[in-house]
């Protein structure tokens, strides 16, 4: 390689007790797109924040264009042409696009008109379609990211670091971003792309640096590797192959949950659920596909007891549970893993043990003469930590101190345990890294083999195909039908999710063959 633009030599970073980066060295070349791949908490962001001057290395050296540099603050980094787009954007939502972009680059009196024109010109140059005068808070996330990119371009960046840039984007937007990255690199700039998604890496990177536990575990050229090797370097071992045994149609299985013609009709608003009719057998995973916001959340809440049906009834093992509230249904053995675990699943400041009994504090399980037996709760939590391979020192640490994947393991463990008959999983693997996804999916299949019923809502079709015994597709609060996964293709599901019924599809096909 010719003279690298950036070189990190033996960088280590220690936070209080944790060694976040351990002797990390890397070189970034001119015109190169380097992907920094690793699971959450592998130290990818930390090493880049050191390069950007937000953190300071405990030891090690940074060279830019072959010259040793001390980068004490983002200002030093920017002076060297380095910019970093944070995972959670650093934008002032109350201010305009222009104000955000010029922050820190102007002095004295600001000629807003001139600045706005310059920003608009820059945006048009890259075909970003960013309105320079708009309030950032009014813009969709995809455009906000472009504002961040413009901020970097405005500062004449030649080394652009992007931290998980696709996490917030829709599929089409990801395509646009990728082509920008390629174009930007072709112009002789360098891009460091932090991600934990292998698909993106294979799409955009020239070279891939893999990190695990604060160390670099591998460095490969894209054309010399495959996803299997990357996964192994990332998580340290091969992914466990999921195996699904038996089918739901085994004779003699009984119906666990029956939802009969349920409609939920709020006052003065369109129905959120219309005539929902299905049943889940014991030992069955019932999948729900659909674009988020088509009634999945309401479906969960209706079964969980938080949302009362306007008409229809819900039966659990033949018993009518429609009149029961949330607490009553918890006691009947329904577990619910909400899609937003931070808001509905846990209290980040409370310990793991406290979180374990969060929902069941009123049950007699841990009650000793009206007093909580913490020894019992701790022991139980310790067992969960071991059984579910939660990376946590013990039951007393706050839930918020764990990584996202490990938090989800804790919530999944609690709900799987509470839901002795039915467990509802609403997007259980969203935002998790490979290892954690693997872990959660294993739990779902284990619950299934134990004879529990599982309602699985997911926007990841591959996950549904892998886990579900039957799949219902939801569109605007209705079922578009219940299908055997073998009868479905990704294309068909896509059309169903868009509201095209199976009958329409066959009709269209016939028309086409007629022609």
């Amino acid at each position: 390689m010719e003279q690298p633009v950036v070189e990190l030599r033996g960088i280590s970073k220690r936070f209080a007790k944790v060694l976040a980066n351990d002797n990390v060295s890397m070189k970034i070349g001119k015109g190169e797109v380097v992907a920094l791949l690793g699971e959450n908490g592998a130290g990818k962001s930390t090493i880049m924040k050191i390069l950007y001057g937000l953190y300071h290395e405990t030891s090690g050296e940074i060279y830019v264009d072959g010259v040793r540099r001390r980068i004490n603050s983002p200002k030093d980094a920017m002076d060297l042409g380095i910019s970093m787009i944070q995972q959670h954007f650093s934008l002032v939502e109350a201010h305009t696009v222009t104000e955000n972009i010029i922050l820190g680059t102007v002095k004295g009196k600001i000629d807003f008109k001139k600045e706005e024109e310059a920003v608009q010109k820059l945006s048009d140059e890259y075909d970003f379609g960013v309105p320079a005068g708009a309030r950032v808070g009014d813009l969709p996330v995809g455009i906000q990211q472009k504002v961040e990119i413009l901020k970097a371009l405005h500062r004449q960046t030649r080394i652009l670091i992007m931290d998980e840039p696709t996490a917030v984007l829709m599929p089409q937007e990801i395509g646009t971003l990728m082509s920008f990255v390629r174009k930007f690199a072709e112009a002789g700039n360098s891009v460091i792309f932090i991600t934990h998604k292998m698909k993106e890496v294979m799409e955009v990177a020239d070279r891939i640096i893999i990190m695990r536990n604060g160390r670099i575990t591998g460095e490969v050229r894209k054309d010399e590797t495959d996803t299997k090797e990357l996964a192994r370097l990332m998580i340290g071992h091969d992914l466990e192959i999921l195996s699904k045994e038996g089918t739901a149609e085994d004779a003699g299985r009984k119906k666990r949950l029956e939802v009969r013609h349920v409609t939920v009709q709020p006052k003065d608003a369109p129905a959120v659920l219309t005539d929902i009719n299905f049943e889940i057998y014991e030992g069955e995973v019932f999948g729900i596909a659909g674009v988020s916001g088509n009634g999945q959340q309401e479906l969960c809440e209706m079964i969980y007891g938080d949302l009362r049906p306007t008409s229809g009834e819900i039966l659990l093992d033949g018993e009518d549970i429609t009149p029961l509230g949330v607490a009553g249904r918890i006691e009947k053995g329904i577990g619910y893993c909400a899609s937003d675990r931070y808001r509905y699943g846990m209290v980040a400041n409370m310990s793991l043990a406290e979180n374990m009994m969060l929902k069941a504090s009123y049950l007699k399980k841990w009650d000793r003469h009206g007093v909580i037996s913490w020894r019992e709760v701790d022991r139980y939590t310790q067992k969960i930590i071991e059984d579910y391979q939660v990376k946590a020192p013990d039951a007393s640490v706050p839930a918020g101190s764990l990584s996202g994947g490990n938090q989800q393991k804790v919530v999944v463990a609690r709900e799987a345990d509470m839901g002795s008959r039915l467990v509802i999983f609403d997007q259980p693997t969203r935002g998790l890294d490979l290892g954690a996804i693997n872990n959660v999916q294993k739990v779902i299949l284990r619950e299934r083999s134990e004879g529990k019923s599982v309602l699985l809502i997911s926007t990841e079709l591959s996950e549904l195909f892998e886990l579900a015994d039957r799949i219902a597709v939801m569109y605007q609060g209705r079922f578009m039908g219940i299908f055997d996964p073998q009868d479905l293709t990704t294309e068909k599901i896509g059309l169903l999710m868009a509201g095209v019924s199976m009958e329409e599809m066959t009709l269209r096909k016939e028309e086409r063959t007629d022609e």
Binding site: Y52, L54, Y55, S73, K75, V92, H95, K107
Partner: protein
């Protein structure tokens, strides 16, 4: 008619320190610093202004002493909240209470316990030649003291700085999203500390206005909540210097009305009720106000990781 003109003159006179204090508060709060030490800063300013003026015999020395002492108290508050990352409201209240004791103590250290209150001449009225001859507004607006005129000049200056300059953009951004400011290569803590210092200077001079312009003496009840009113004016004025001016005048009027009714008497309503007028006004107006443009990170401690 003359009564009303006198009342308005008095209102403008009383509004000056409230406007000045609120302007300082606007600058600090726009960077996210909920500077509720302002009551203590006012009191310190009143004490330092009086002591400085009494001992030197010079008004300017008094105001300078007030400015410096106000700034020092603000620096204490800023150091605790910004660099030691303590809770802004708790620290602000603590500093305010600390200064109450501090001022009483040092008044006695310096002056002992005088048998009759020590007095000084109040700051004279400075009639603006020409303008003061205009009927009505000549007396109301142009027969005031120099601090009032300076305060009026500061309003557009603060407005210009906040909305038209790079420094203002940084100040506003600090209050909305300090992380974004840090990422843009600006030292958030320094900006916040400087803003608090400026706020302290304004508050110190505002406090001295009560001892040097209003009564010409010092006692520990001299401020009695006016710092908190300036704090409230900053909110009501939507963190905007012009809003601070308008609400400052409104509260000046309510204070003047209270004093007037107390003086006239005989209305059958206890005069204490009118003294409480500005404070009641804060509660009523704040409760009525629907939309506030609160800086998003106002009162939030900014902790820099490194």
């Amino acid at each position: 008619m003359q009564n009303i003109i006198n009342l308005l003159t008095r209102a403008i006179f009383m509004s000056t320190p409230l406007i000045l204090g609120a302007l300082g508060e606007v600058i600090a709060e726009r960077t996210g610093m909920m500077m509720c030490a302002v009551e203590g800063i006012f009191l310190t300013g009143a004490w330092a202004g009086f002591a400085g003026c009494y001992l030197s015999g010079n008004m300017a020395v008094g105001f300078l002493a007030a400015l410096i002492c106000g700034m020092l108290v603000a620096m204490l508050y800023g150091f605790c909240t910004i660099y030691l990352t303590q809770h802004q409201i708790v620290m602000g209240t603590a500093v305010a209470i600390l200064m109450t004791g501090f001022c009483t103590f040092f008044y006695r250290v310096v002056f002992g316990i005088p048998t009759s209150p020590l007095k000084i001449e109040t700051l004279p009225v400075l009639k603006i030649p020409g303008l003061c001859r205009i009927p009505v507004i000549g007396q109301v607006l142009f027969s005031q003291n120099i601090i009032t005129y300076i305060t009026w000049l500061i309003v557009p200056v603060v407005f210009y700085v906040i909305y038209k300059t790079a420094a203002g953009l940084t100040i506003r951004s600090c209050g909305e999203n300090p992380e974004a400011v840090e990422v843009a290569g600006i030292n958030v803590r320094r900006i916040r500390f400087l803003a608090v210092m400026v706020g302290g200077c304004f508050g110190g001079v505002a406090g001295a206005y009560y001892s040097l312009c209003n009564v010409g003496m010092y006692n520990s009840e001299i401020i009695s909540g006016r710092g908190w009113i300036a704090f409230g004016i900053c909110f009501l004025g939507n963190w905007n210097p012009v809003g601070a001016l308008l609400f400052g005048i409104l509260f000046g009027i309510s204070e003047a009305v209270g004093i007037y009714i107390k003086a006239v008497g005989g209305s059958g309503i206890p005069s204490e009720l009118f003294s409480a007028l500005p404070y009641m006004l804060v509660i009523v107006l704040t409760a009525l106000r629907k939309q506030f443009n609160v800086p998003a990170k106002l009162g939030a401690t900014y902790v820099k990781e490194d």
